[in-house]
């Protein structure tokens, strides 16, 4: 059971969106975020909505799956909405109750900010739903490469992410083994209050950490034995290639961004 875990929320597929270059998808996600922040009034969320609809159609990811990503944020959303509703300044007062008052402007701001949050999370999860963690690592490494000129460790960062991904299943398996070993000796991980259960995790975490450090040492030795000496002079087996589709995706996204800016500026 533990051996089949999926990493992140990636949904494997072979659609146009899945096949886009990870670099394109990362950059277009930034364009999308910019687009959300350029929306000037709640009405114009219709543009990102149409954009998301297109993404969803092309990638086979349903709106339901996109909205799932928002679920953990529901409390943050409610707080954002309530705070903006009661504490925004405005002149058109609808209800007043002590220091709390609801104004028309307050309601609009509340809706606006909550929508912004929803669209941000839903849109960025298109990236994580359609791009495998390995492809994401590759994309990030290449995109950050220019920064290595000023000393930013882009190769090391990507190598660390790859190794982390590689060892997650191994460490989960190990945690499972240690847990069973502790349970066989009478450890109780399931009863008691939160504090008690957290305390019960200590005998699980200590051996897990010790073994992770040992693994790290051995892995470093094995990597050096295979001539690993940093990113310098290194070639790659996997190469990223832009295709025609990447161009189309970029054009559509930039057009949506421009449209949003224009709508905000021209039509008040």
């Amino acid at each position: 059971m533990l051996r089949d875990i999926t990493l992140g929320q990636y949904m494997p597929g072979n659609t146009v969106v899945h096949r886009l270059d990870p670099r394109t998808k990362i950059l277009l996600t930034i364009v999308y975020i910019a687009m959300i922040f350029c929306v000037s009034s709640p009405v114009w969320y219709v543009i990102p909505l149409a954009y998301l609809f297109l993404c969803s159609k092309l990638s086979g990811i349903t709106f339901g799956q996109l909205l799932k990503a928002i679920k953990p944020l529901r409390f943050l959303l409610i707080i954002t909405f309530v705070l903006n509703l009661f504490f925004s300044s405005g002149s058109t007062v609808w209800l007043e109750w002590g220091i709390l008052k609801i104004t028309k402007e307050g309601l609009m701001t509340a809706i606006h900010f909550s929508m912004r949050l929803v669209f941000l999370v839903a849109g960025t999860s298109v990236l994580t739903l359609t791009t495998s963690p390995i492809a994401l690592c590759d994309g990030i490494e290449v995109l950050l490469k220019p920064l290595s000129k000023i000393g930013f460790p882009s190769h090391e960062l990507a190598m660390m992410m790859t190794i982390a991904l590689r060892f997650i299943p191994t460490l989960i398996e190990e945690a499972d083994k240690i847990m069973k070993a502790q349970m066989a000796r009478g450890a109780d991980f399931e009863s008691g209050n939160l504090f008690k259960r957290a305390k019960a995790m200590v005998p699980l975490l200590v051996p897990l950490f010790v073994s992770a450090f040992r693994r790290a040492g051995e892995l470093a030795m094995a990597m050096e034995a295979r001539c690993y000496h940093g990113g310098e002079g290194r070639t790659r087996m996997r190469v990223l290639r832009f295709t025609q589709n990447d161009l189309y995706a970029a054009l559509v996204s930039v057009a949506a961004l421009v449209l949003t800016i224009l709508c905000g500026a021209l039509i008040k």
Partner: protein
């Protein structure tokens, strides 16, 4: 006129101490020449220095005394270090802690990427290495979905792709189940026989050493025996004194010899024993 021969691996009175003040170094003035194309097993119980010796052979540890040469290159010379490691590939004990990438094929590519091999050249070399260890089918699998023996075969492929002159197996079967052990041994044996790969096989399993061309037994960091498996294992009493096991058939043969049966000294496996017994007991049927 005499030209010095270049061995894949040569130790000249090599010593290594983990602690400089330590009076009993882990490896103590060992001299050893590994001949090209041979399968050399290094035997010893825990703490005999066999794993330390393996790590001296590809410059993970540098000798604190004496010299270690890999294909004629001194492991202490810093500019040769990557060249040395390419020539002497090493497979470690824990299969989980030496696989770097998330996909089998990419892990095999890891060493080549480090050497800066161009991509076009890389792909055929990866395929060839995977084929050599019979893992072509699993080229796109995730490492954590493989069995221990399969993971070790991937690790071997990763080393093979770098086209080394010698493969050092540092107790590479110690953490495997019996079928995985057999599997890995068979793979390496085949590489040795078919491709003439030089192998240094570090182990404490006697049965594995029985498959070698040459057995070197270490104790407290020193070589105590060196010879063919038959020569070494016929010294049953001495081996037992070192805290090592003798292959069961070698021991049985010794007991039968002591009991008066004139058996040959080369018996290591059940097949040898059957043949020898048929020869000795019913000479008339030996040609069947």
């Amino acid at each position: 006129m005499e030209q010095k021969q270049v061995w894949p691996i040569e130790l000249e009175l090599a010593s290594y101490a983990y602690d400089e003040e330590d009076e009993t170094p882990a490896v103590d003035k060992v001299s050893l020449q590994v001949e090209k194309g041979t399968f050399v097993a290094v035997l010893g119980h825990n703490g005999s220095g066999k794993s330390t010796m393996a790590k001296l052979m590809n410059a993970i540890y540098l000798p604190t005394g004496g010299k270690v040469l890999v294909c004629g290159m001194d492991t202490t010379s810093e500019e040769d270090i990557w060249n040395i490691r390419r020539h002497a590939g090493m497979v470690f004990q824990n299969p989980d802690n030496q696989i770097v990438a998330n996909v089998v094929r990419e892990d095999v590519a890891f060493g080549l990427e480090n050497l800066g091999v161009p991509r076009e050249e890389m792909l055929p070399r990866i395929d060839e290495a995977l084929e050599a260890v019979r893992m072509t089918e699993k080229a796109d699998a995730a490492p954590h979905m493989l069995s221990g023996g399969q993971k070790q075969r991937v690790a071997i492929a990763g080393v093979l792709a770098m086209q080394p002159d010698v493969i050092i197996m540092d107790e590479a079967t110690a953490m495997l189940d019996p079928s995985g052990r057999k599997d890995v041994l068979k793979t390496v044996r085949r590489l040795n026989r078919d491709k003439g790969m030089t192998v240094v096989w570090i182990t404490h399993y006697m049965e594995e050493a029985a498959h070698a061309d040459r057995v070197v037994v270490l104790d407290s960091g020193r070589t105590v025996m060196d010879g063919t498996p038959a020569q070494v294992f016929s010294r049953v009493e001495e081996i037992k004194e070192l805290g090592l096991d003798v292959p069961p058939m070698a021991e049985l043969a010794m007991r039968l010899r002591n009991a008066g049966l004139p058996l040959d000294e080369n018996i290591l496996t059940v097949a040898d024993m059957v043949k020898e017994l048929t020869n000795t007991l019913c000479p008339s049927k030996s040609n069947i």
